[in-house]
């Protein structure tokens, strides 16, 4: 979330799209209800009529995978009716920046496409520039000269050409306007299947937040991300929020509703293949042969990320302690690196299938049920030499060899199941969707042999260290020199010591740093995660209750003359970064520093100083440290532009979100002849099907009553009782076509598999009219599988395709093709 849960109450229009917030994030409705009490409208856009839709003011059905057609149409509507927030767009976005005149777009392809490599050369996507600004290494960037700082060639900023009138045909504003001219209401409706009148009503309602002072928020989840263009879906929402001036506003923002209690924390800590803690790129053996390469290629010319060398060197200092010195480039060579191959979930199982990956650690993960094309993933597991599953119960993955289609006698994989402590049986921090890093205390000891994951990990690290010490091997220092001194007097993991190291400290005296502004690139500081820095700052205590992360003041007082009650709650836990509750919050004020909405002020420039109701996300401090630096329009400090990007060069598949069809779709792309996202790589094992054999769109989802693969919830009888069986929801029309009645067992099939589910015939699903043809959509939860717990049933993911997003490789779980029939008994 750019904003946070409580802040939803400040919204004028709440849009849930690609997320089912009432069902999967029930607490969100506490704040949506609060907003509605004050007159806010709540819009739900979803292929099916959900419990969110049931309580909404406006519901719009949309065929799975057509969000960009819907949002692109909305941009066009906003441009045509001049409903954008003009002053915001001019001052805080790159609308006025000129783009390389060779940039172009033709029939679904942006300029620079390399068909053979299925990727873009982005040279023509760059800004048109007219000068250069090198770093001032005597002034602001003098830190690069400090002894101990690794040498690297500092980046050179390019001075952009701009047209403040927004009329130059090569300025971002004009390019964008032109790009979306094709997205007429008729096309958007024909592609998405949303009735045009309802669509226009939703557009009108949401676009009303473009008025200065109004705020619209977007809540989304996996319905947006789990597509081959999922990253572009997310960008499409960000772009909408910029057009309407909703980023940085209380009651605004782009808000990812996290589907697991600490998935925000696990992302921050980089439980992903392509990033290391706090969103820095994982070093790559080809691109970053030495530390200098990393610093030169990963440090941008402007914006707050120019401090990246400080964060990166501090991370290396924590990882390798005294061993990391200026002389050995802070042990950069010891750090694990990517080998240029794709190491995403999908690719990892391909590698297992090929026999390249021979061992697998699973930590609270159940890919035998949760993975895309999961029967293929179960088959891949057969080829492993060993597997370690750490979990609360014996999941289907830990017992993959018991799957109905598998013959255990042919499998040599050795499986270790380690019982793990559950969340009430250990302490640590949990980061919620709103980035609040909240300490959670242990309530009870784990039962039997179950252990805290941290402790399991510690035992493994210690055993590895002993082995490398005894036997050597390739680069033993990578393990033997790794810092792991977070132990208590009984040699058990002390998570508070780890928390302290994550916050960061000065190496010389070991004292905690106040926040990441104190980190240095010269080896004098160590820090496990710069974004967390500030959450553990009490030098005199090791009690989490005495630390910002353990703070529990739930008041929301008036601060410096600005009214409280905005939901900032700055005294409750710690929010990254630096306890800032709403990021990009400079944009909540006009260029002169007056809040767009005077009734909900986060900040105000009085003419001589800043009043604050949140931690500022902009330079408000003058050289003397007082909050008296006059306003400017650098509202997006993380970007070199200082402005937000309507046009973004960083994306793999185009600077503007463009509509493509899902890889399995019942429709021909009506917006171009480029059917699918052209930058996606597809493996053969995806066994894609076509609409002649599989004409029905299917999507998977979760229920309030269950969680993820059901590993936890199918083991809790109370929850099983509330939603006892795997089912398929389908429309009355489709049921009539197929001779199916509620309660019948239905076979759902495609090239990847066949499962059964019990029919739930309902008007909550209705056929779509797509390009003039009737298209049916069905849906099932993905909580069930063949073993574990009080309820078993078909695995929806036996049907989902293992084809991934062009930017992130997230699988296209949310839109694929099937056929269905009544099961003959």
């Amino acid at each position: 979330m750019t904003n946070h849960w409580v802040d939803l109450k400040n919204s004028d229009v709440v849009l849930a799209i690609g997320g089912n917030n009432a069902e999967n994030h029930p607490i969100s409705m506490k704040w949506v209800t609060e907003a509605r009490k004050n007159g806010a409208k709540y819009i739900v856009v979803d292929p099916r009529f959900t419990r969110s839709a049931a309580v909404s003011d406006l519901y719009g059905p949309l065929r799975s995978g057509t969000d960009i057609a819907f949002l692109g149409g909305l941009y066009n509507y906003i441009f045509e009716n001049k409903l954008y927030h003009e002053e915001y767009v001019k001052n805080y976005t790159n609308a006025s920046w000129l783009v390389n005149p060779d940039y172009g777009f033709d029939d679904g392809l942006f300029s620079g496409y390399d068909e053979a490599g299925r990727k873009y050369d982005k040279a023509t996507w760059q800004y048109d520039t007219e000068g250069e600004t090198p770093w001032d290494t005597e002034g602001a960037f003098a830190w690069v000269n400090k002894p101990g700082t690794p040498a690297f060639t500092t980046p050179i900023g390019k001075t952009p050409k701009k047209d403040e009138t927004l009329s130059d045909p090569n300025c971002v504003f004009q390019l964008m306007k032109k790009h979306y001219e094709r997205y007429t209401p008729e096309i958007a409706s024909a592609v998405s299947g949303m009735p045009i009148d309802r669509m226009m009503e939703i557009w009108e309602t949401y676009a009303s937040t473009g008025q200065p002072g109004k705020a619209g928020t977007i809540m989304y989840a996996m319905g947006m991300t789990q597509h081959t263009y999922g990253s572009q879906n997310v960008r499409a929402m960000a772009v909408l929020q910029l057009l309407l001036g909703n980023m940085g506003m209380p009651g605004g923002g782009v808000n990812a509703l996290r589907g697991e209690s600490n998935v925000q924390g696990s992302t921050d800590m980089a439980m992903l293949f392509h990033i290391i803690p706090a969103y820095m790129a994982t070093p790559n053996a080809t691109k970053h042969k030495v530390l200098r390469d990393y610093l030169e290629k990963e440090t941008p010319s402007g914006g707050y990320w120019t401090n990246k060398p400080k964060f990166f060197i501090s991370l290396l200092k924590e990882m390798y302690g005294d061993y990391a010195t200026a002389a050995n480039n802070y042990a950069f060579d010891m750090m694990p690196k990517l080998n240029g191959k794709n190491h995403s979930h999908i690719a990892m199982f391909e590698a297992m299938n090929e026999g390249t990956v021979k061992g697998l650690f699973l930590w609270g993960q159940n890919p035998a049920v949760g993975g895309p094309n999961c029967s293929m993933e179960r088959n891949a597991m057969e080829k492993l030499d060993w597997m370690v599953a750490v979990d609360l119960w014996e999941t289907e993955t830990a017992s993959f060899w018991k799957a109905p289609t598998i013959d255990p006698s042919t499998i040599d994989t050795e499986v270790f199941l380690l019982p793990a402590a559950c969340h009430y049986e250990k302490q640590g921090s949990i980061s919620n969707s709103g980035r609040w890093i909240q300490w959670r205390w242990k309530a009870v000891d784990p039962p039997g042999d179950a252990m805290d994951d941290g402790e399991i990990c510690t035992e493994i690290v210690h055993a590895l260290k002993d082995l490398y010490k005894a036997e050597g091997g390739a680069l033993p220092e990578a393990i033997t020199e790794l810092t792991w001194d977070y132990m208590d007097e009984n040699d058990h993991l002390d998570i508070t010591k780890l928390a302290r190291a994550i916050n960061g400290y000065t190496v010389a005296d070991g004292k905690v740093v106040a926040n990441f502004t104190k980190l240095a690139a010269d080896g004098s500081t160590a820090c496990g995660n710069w974004l967390f820095s500030g959450y553990w700052t009490n030098e005199d205590s090791m009690d989490p209750a005495d630390q910002p992360t353990g703070a529990r003041d739930n008041t929301d007082p008036t601060r410096k003359g600005l009214d409280g009650g905005m939901g900032s709650h700055l005294g409750w836990s710690f929010c990254w970064p630096v306890n800032r509750r709403i990021i990009y919050n400079r944009a909540s004020c006009d260029p002169a520093g007056n809040p767009w909405n005077p009734d909900k002020p986060l900040f105000k420039w009085t003419g001589s100083e800043w009043l604050s109701n949140d931690v500022p996300d902009f330079g408000n401090k003058a050289a003397d440290g007082t909050e008296t630096k006059p306003p400017n329009s650098t509202a997006f400090i993380m970007l070199p532009e200082g402005n937000a990007r309507l046009f973004a060069q960083g994306m793999a598949d185009g600077p503007f979100p463009e509509h493509y069809e899902p890889y399995e779709s019942p429709a021909t792309n009506a917006l171009s002849s480029t059917q699918n996202d052209p930058a996606v790589v597809v493996w053969e094992s995806a066994s894609l099907g076509t609409k002649d054999k599989f004409p029905i769109v299917m999507s998977t989802y979760r229920l309030t009553e269950h969680w993820q693969t059901g590993g936890m919830t199918r083991n809790l009888p109370w929850l099983v009782e509330t939603m006892p069986k795997m089912f398929i929801e389908l429309s009355q029309e489709l049921a009539d076509d197929k001779g199916i009645e509620s309660g019948d067992s239905v076979v759902i099939e495609n090239n990847r598999g066949a499962i059964t589910a019990l029919a739930m015939v309902t008007n909550r699903f209705k056929p779509f009219t797509i390009n003039g043809e009737t298209v049916h959509q069905v849906g099932t939860p993905w909580h069930w599988s063949y073993s574990s717990g009080c309820s078993i049933g078909g695995s929806a993911n036996d049907l989902t395709p293992n084809v991934g997003d062009a930017n992130t490789m997230i699988p296209e779980y949310k839109a694929f093709l099937v056929d269905i029939r009544k099961e003959e008994v």
């Binding site: 419990r51 969110s52 009553e705 099983v720 006892p724």
Partner: protein, 268 residues
């Protein structure tokens, strides 16, 4: 002690069933542990009916619309009526009315005769064959005695359930009614203020009583009053005879009796 009441506002309810599960957890009501013992209900409503071990359920009713449906939710559990038919029907005095308005079955005294299950116009109390006892919501008397709210109310994430002195809850319900009407829910109605001399669970049914499955103008069956006269004469032995003859057919206005026959079979 003042009379207390729960207020349920259907316009704020997302039917997450948090209340349904919290009730089972607090009152330690079992669910089958054996795999796949549960019936498929063809609906999000599960189980279809309250049972001796499930005292609160969320109900789901669908009305078709051009785009989507109206999906109407309701909390189904004991209403804690002032004029409580169950209490009047009980031949052994196992059901009592507490000062705070709660209608409570004393399991020690219950003889499992099922007069109350037949008398209740809402079909709420449910008999369990295993121990020959009838059970239902008891408005978390143990929690109230310790200054807490009922478990269902505490867990509600949206504020659809609130709890307090009945007079305050009546006022809250009326405010909620005005708000719902202002939002265009012209059929919105409040329920429980006067019904059966006043219930201790009040409702805003924002699409009207019928849409949410509430019984308009519920009555204590006439025969119950006659039974009041007879009861002192015969006691428990007499009750067994009359019960079979009379009370079970007295109550033709019960909650969806035909629809839920199946589920009653199941839970036995």
């Amino acid at each position: 002690m003042a009379e207390m009441a729960i207020f349920y506002d259907s316009s704020k309810c997302t039917a997450c069933k948090g209340c349904q599960v919290a009730c089972k957890q607090w009152n330690q009501l079992p669910s089958p542990l054996t795999a796949d013992k549960f019936e498929y209900t063809k609906s999000y409503q599960s189980p279809l009916e309250t049972n001796p071990d499930t005292w609160v359920i969320m109900t789901f009713d669908e009305v078709d619309q051009d785009i989507g449906v109206e999906w109407n939710f309701m909390r189904r559990a004991c209403f804690h009526c002032t004029d409580a038919a169950c209490l009047q029907a009980c031949p052994v005095g196992a059901i009592s009315k507490r000062d705070n308005g709660a209608v409570v079955i004393d399991s020690e005294k219950c003889i499992g005769c099922q007069y109350c299950t037949n008398a209740c116009p809402f079909d709420i109390p449910k008999w369990k064959e295993a121990d020959n006892k009838t059970r239902k919501c008891w408005l978390c008397q143990d929690r109230l005695a310790n200054g807490r709210q009922p478990a269902c109310v505490t867990t509600c994430p949206t504020g659809a359930l609130t709890f307090g002195e009945r007079t305050e809850m009546v006022a809250t319900a009326k405010t909620a009614l005005d708000e719902a009407k202002a939002k265009g829910f012209n059929d919105a109605e409040v329920y429980g203020v006067d019904e059966l001399d006043g219930m201790h669970v009040l409702f805003l049914a924002h699409r009207g009583l019928e849409a949410h499955g509430l019984i308009r103008d519920p009555k204590v069956p006439d025969m119950i009053e006659l039974w009041q006269l007879l009861k002192p004469l015969g006691g428990a032995a007499f009750a067994a005879v009359i019960g079979g003859l009379g009370i079970s057919y007295l109550t033709g206005i019960g909650y969806k009796r035909e629809e839920t026959d199946e589920s009653e079979e199941v839970q036995k």
